[in-house]
Symmetry: C2
Subunit: 145 residues, 2 copies
DNA sequence: ATCCGCCGGTCGATCTCTTCCACGGACCTG
DNA sequence: CAGGTCCGTGGAAGAGATCGACCGGCGGAT
């Protein structure tokens, strides 16, 4: 039961476009049964969405970096995520334990773009930054679960 | 031209299951034209795959962490990514500039699981580790581009 | 200038897949 | 046992994917 749902999640995490027919063959269920299960998983929120996975080198954003930020004035309310949300170069924002308060993951086209982005981050959120450049990506976004 | 391809990529990054019909309406092209373009984008590798986006809290892996690793013996060949590939808790592995050589992003169910995973990472790759716990995720995996 | 070939588009036919509905069995409960 | 719920199956209707035939613009070669 639960076992089948987990298998469906694994299959869809690897191929988000797999048809219900194929999911049925892979799980031993009828197309309709799989359809119901997937809709239920979507409704419960276990499946948040479906996305195409892009090659950012080929798309023209070959430079990835992690930017750790910490507030310059710790007495200010910490709403950095909202202050930074409009910067589309920021792919992800995690609140973390440790010396810094957030880690951002960004994709840009060039070092110059990164320099520009850093300036915008600092002014928008009033933070200091520490940047770690990604040299290569052995693997990324593998399905866990 | 190129403009339309970029728009298609943006749309599919947000909704990887959007139908060719809808993509056509959104771009002003016929279904077939969009179909051809998407197949070409897949063939060229700009679209690497499609994936379901899961809610890892609900899936039973509520604990996310970043683990920075550095080799204990710098004279050894550095094949950490391969040595760690079999650990399915590791979602991503980036080679980075800086004090550490790689950053890993991992998903586990509990602090005990994390402790166990750290031990396996250290022995598998002969590295020392520095772990940063994720407290919350304001946003993640937003489409850039 | 004309012809030719290529690229990228539309249109239409066909086949698959999605989606919905009716139905049936297992199980629990009063 | 009757009634309800949960999950499953099967089938029908419609929507979407896929493929081939055809067309027009554009650049290069004759």
């Amino acid at each position: 039961m639960e076992e089948i749902d987990r298998r469906i999640l694994t299959l869809l995490a690897e191929d988000g476009r797999m048809s219900f027919t194929d999911l049925g063959k892979a799980t031993g269920l009828s197309t309709s049964a799989v359809h119901q299960r997937v809709k239920r998983l979507e409704g419960r929120g276990l499946i948040k969405s479906y996305a195409a996975v892009l090659d950012y080198d080929l798309v023209g954003l070959p430079l990835t970096a992690f930017i750790s930020i910490r507030p310059i004035d710790p007495s200010q309310p910490d709403d950095s995520p909202e202050r930074l949300r409009h910067l589309t170069e920021i792919e992800s924002c995690w609140s973390v334990a440790g010396d810094e308060s957030y880690i951002l993951k960004v994709r840009v086209g060039s070092p110059a773009d990164l320099e520009d982005l850093l300036a915008r981050i600092r002014t928008a959120a009033n933070v200091s930054t520490r940047t770690t450049i990604v040299l290569s990506t052995p693997y990324e976004g593998r399905p866990v679960g």
